[in-house]
């Protein structure tokens, strides 16, 4: 297995357009489409929901295309340009984004060109929304509040993800990791046409801003085409909060909640006392991989395959919060047995009783995963942005190099930092059965 050579594909070339506003360009000739990502960064907090309304209100109409229908028609005319908003997080920061993807000029029939028109359209959507007397239309805001409320309520429908979020909320009282990037319904209800307009102005004016472009176009002419995207950004950039310190675990706690359903979801949170910027960060990534990141990992081969205790089981390490979460979809009656089995596998890794092959397979799987990322401009842009926000070297090859230096002893040391914090179980009520008519 070849590892830690360079992948041969370039990273983004970055330039600061104004204080707090950066343009990242990556030339990409293998694909048929260009990708553009415009992101604004905010501190994560209880009011995160209000920021979520900005991209959704922008998608409801611009000056020249003043309705959702007109925006959609224009997208279709631009050879099916895909455009939409998204909300993500990087640790304690919320990332609000407008994403777009459109055909490369070289692929269009009849020598048509698209790049300039596409960027101009995206610029108008972001900087010249359809406003009524200087504000977003009240009906639009009220409808987007209602839409986002359902989005927050709908998080419950993905039980695994819901159980993991509940576990984080209960583990991290008083820490920013507990907030969901969609925010809360309580803060959403404070939104008005005026407040969302103010949030939009604040975002485009002073929030730290990153534009990522990946496509065929050459950077000299491209920069000129992309610069108008920064038109609204002023010189005073909002400051982001200092990095919140990572905590250790206290006493092991247990929490069980119930729902009407069939399968229980077990989530165990561990404090790792490591993360971005810590020398053991990559060792913890590999430790998590040996425990439950892959089909060769111990949770899959032992808890699922040998003991048939679950279908889905894995572990996930977050370098921002320093939390490692293990989750499994199980029969509620086997919760105690599954929990013991999971903790036993973690003890095996702590004692170093995993094979040299398990260790090597995990290194190789991580290396392979990182190299595959280079085929996806969307993943590369996300990696680049998140890396910059959490203070990590934003090159894939840099991370590959650090991962390749992880030793077996480092994995054992990292595993021994795992402290169980909360054992959370979302389990079905005893008396329920589905009711289909």
């Amino acid at each position: 297995m070849t590892r830690a050579g360079t992948s041969g594909w370039s990273d983004f070339e970055s330039s600061e357009i104004a204080p707090g506003a950066s343009l990242h360009i990556r030339q990409e000739s293998r694909r048929k489409t260009s990708r553009l990502r415009v992101s604004w960064i905010h501190n994560m907090g209880p009011d995160a929901a209000q920021n979520c309304l900005v991209p959704s209100c922008l998608m409801r109409g611009s000056r020249s295309f003043p309705s959702l229908r007109e925006i959609s028609r224009r997208s279709e005319e631009l050879w099916g340009l895909g455009i939409g908003g998204s909300i993500d997080r990087a640790g304690q920061l919320q990332i609000v984004t407008i994403n777009a993807e459109f055909a490369e000029d070289s692929r269009l029939p009849g020598g048509e060109t698209l790049l300039s028109d596409a960027v101009e359209f995206i610029r108008e959507v972001i900087l010249q929304p359809h406003l009524v007397e200087g504000c977003f239309d009240e009906d639009t805001v009220s409808s987007e509040v209602s839409q986002h409320r359902r989005c927050i309520e709908g998080r419950f429908d993905d039980k695994r993800s819901w159980a993991m979020q509940r576990c984080i909320e209960e583990t991290c009282h008083g820490e920013p990791w507990r907030f969901h990037e969609y925010g809360t319904i309580e803060s959403l209800e404070q939104a008005t046409a005026e407040s969302v307009t103010a949030d939009w102005k604040k975002s485009i004016g002073s929030a730290p801003m990153h534009v990522h472009f990946s496509g065929e176009a050459r950077s000299d002419s491209l920069t000129e085409i992309l610069l108008p995207l920064f038109d609204g950004h002023d010189q005073k950039t909002a400051t982001l909060a200092d990095r919140f310190p990572r905590k250790g675990a206290g006493e092991v706690r247990e929490l069980e909640e119930h729902f009407h359903g069939q399968q229980a979801n077990l989530v165990i949170s561990f404090r790792t006392s490591t993360g971005h910027g810590d020398p053991l960060q990559e060792s913890m990534m590999i430790a998590s991989g040996v425990i439950g990141g892959f089909p060769h990992s111990r949770l899959f081969t032992q808890v699922r395959e040998k003991q048939s205790l679950c279908y889905s089981v894995n572990s996930l390490f977050d370098g921002s919060s320093g939390l490692l979460l293990v989750n499994a979809g199980i029969d509620g009656d086997t919760a105690t047995r599954t929990r013991e089995s999971i903790l036993e596998q973690i003890d095996v890794v702590k004692r170093g009783e995993f094979s040299a092959e398990e260790f090597q397979m995990t290194l190789d799987a991580w290396d392979s995963r990182l190299r595959m990322t280079q085929d996806s401009p969307a993943s590369l842009a996300e990696f680049d942005l998140v890396s910059r926000l959490v203070g990590r070297d934003p090159t894939i090859d840099g991370l590959r190099e650090r991962v390749s230096c992880v030793t077996r002893d480092g994995v054992i040391e990292a595993a021994n930092r795992l402290e169980t914090d909360l054992i959370y179980l979302l389990s079905p009520e005893d008396d329920q059965r589905e009711d289909v008519q």
């Binding site: 489409t33 340009l81 692929r107 409808s143 399968q263 199980i330 190789d364 799987a365």
Partner: protein
């Protein structure tokens, strides 16, 4: 002789893609699509054995009826080898592997960066070497039981399968792909062995690579691997189709479960026995363009429903073909599923009276080219599109020519014949 018949080349200049296809002496279809510059390599080995293939006979013998969930169960068990799980060997080679069972097929796949050919060896060999024991089959029932429960708690999955139950009276497409805990309880190693012998013969399979590798090296490796095992002549398998009436089985299926957001789907049933290849692809494309004109975000209906707060971003529409049946489905999350159904029913009636504006169709043609360019960036999409269309005797790239060919009249006729109340059913999942 390794290869039989003529080499087939499928290609399209607009998409910039080309697939070379050969038939191996065993009967297997082997295909290669080169993706220059991509680091990721992808290969899949697919069989035309999915959840709808529940009745068949061999050589005119007695009819065999399989319990629901067998194809999916077999997919799980193929990964188990006498020494170790096939997944582990892929991991050893730095590759990631997976498999999925659909209504009409089962696909085993891997992706890797290095070591493509050793991974290809492993893929072909493990799919051709079943290892079923009473112990490992019984053990799998617990794992799949948890998978079934996981989907039972997924309201998006439930609203979809309840719609199928509303649309189809007899057809096995209405049944969950994984079966139920009851139907899989009776599965035995012998049953899996018979299914494997019947449906995993190379003549029923496609081996495809989408990779930046040398084409001839791939065909040489694939030819050698498929020649390693002589499985004899292909069994004369007659899949028995289930007769399905044109009318939906039920007008509506409602399920109560604890959800954050209510879900709703409306479906229009479609039958197309005896149609395949280009004709079926044309029908699919005409239907998709029609649905986009009626339900798409640039149409009048979407904005009205959105403004009335009856739908959100999750609202989507698709046309799906499964074996000899198909259906259009539209819907998503809704604050008021019953009202949404009423409004859509009424508005579709109005649109049928007014017809579709030819300008909308022209815009959809242009938009579809952009969509295809985006989609064909993806190795997985190329593989899915190739296998899906080849299973139906179609050409994955022909869609570009068909887009230019289809007429306003065809789209209009499709609207009038397909979106009719008599063919409609709906499904609601709500708290």
């Amino acid at each position: 002789m390794t290869w039989i018949g003529e080499e087939i080349i499928l290609e399209n200049a607009t998409l910039g893609e080309r697939v070379v296809e050969r038939t191996h002496a065993s009967g297997a279809t082997v295909a290669f699509c080169r993706k220059p510059g991509y680091l990721r390599r992808y290969a899949c080995f697919s069989t035309r054995f999915g959840s709808v293939d529940d009745r068949y006979r061999i050589n005119g013998g007695p009819e065999v009826l399989l319990p629901d969930g067998v194809a999916h169960f077999l997919e799980h068990k193929m990964f188990e080898g006498p020494e170790e799980d096939a997944f582990v060997q892929f991991s050893r080679m730095g590759a990631s592997a997976n498999a999925f069972t659909s209504f009409v097929g089962t696909t085993y796949l891997f992706s890797c960066v290095d070591g493509f050919f050793p991974c290809l060896d492993h893929l072909v060999r493990f799919v051709q070497q079943p290892h079923f024991t009473t112990e490992n089959v019984e053990k799998e029932k617990g794992i799949i039981g948890q998978e079934i429960r996981m989907y039972a708690d997924n309201p998006g999955w439930r609203v979809y399968f309840n719609l199928l139950a509303g649309l189809y009276k007899n057809h096995p497409v209405a049944k969950d792909i994984a079966g139920t805990e009851q139907t899989i309880a009776g599965i035995t190693p012998q049953m899996l062995d018979r299914c494997w012998s019947t449906f995993y013969h190379p003549s029923n399979m496609i081996l495809l690579a989408v990779a930046d590798e040398d084409q001839e090296t791939f065909f040489e490796a694939a030819g050698r691997l498929l020649s390693e095992q002589d499985l004899g002549p292909a069994p004369a398998v007659e899949k028995i189709l289930t007769e399905e009436p044109a009318a939906p089985a039920q007008q509506q299926v409602r399920q109560q479960m604890q959800v954050g957001r209510s879900k709703v789907l409306l479906g229009w049933k479609d039958l197309h026995p005896g149609i395949g290849g280009r004709d079926l692809m044309r029908k699919e494309l005409v239907t998709e363009v029609m649905l986009e004109c009626v339900f798409g975000q640039s149409g009048p209906l979407f904005e009205e429903l959105y403004r009335k707060d009856l739908i959100d971003d999750s609202f989507a529409t698709s046309y799906q073909i499964h074996s000899d049946v198909g259906h259009s489905a539209t819907g998503g999350d809704s604050a008021d599923p019953d009202r949404l159904i009423d409004v859509i029913r009424e508005e579709v009636g109005n649109i049928r009276k007014v017809g579709i504006d030819p300008v909308d169709i022209e815009r959809q043609r242009r938009s579809a080219i952009g969509y295809l360019l985006r989609a064909f960036n993806s190795l997985d999409h190329i593989a899915g599109s190739y296998c899906g269309t080849r299973f139906l005797d179609g050409d994955p790239f022909e869609v570009v020519d068909l887009l230019a060919e289809i007429t306003t009249k065809e789209v209009e006729e499709r609207l009038q014949e397909h979106l009719i109340p008599d063919q409609m059913s709906s499904s609601i999942v709500t708290s």
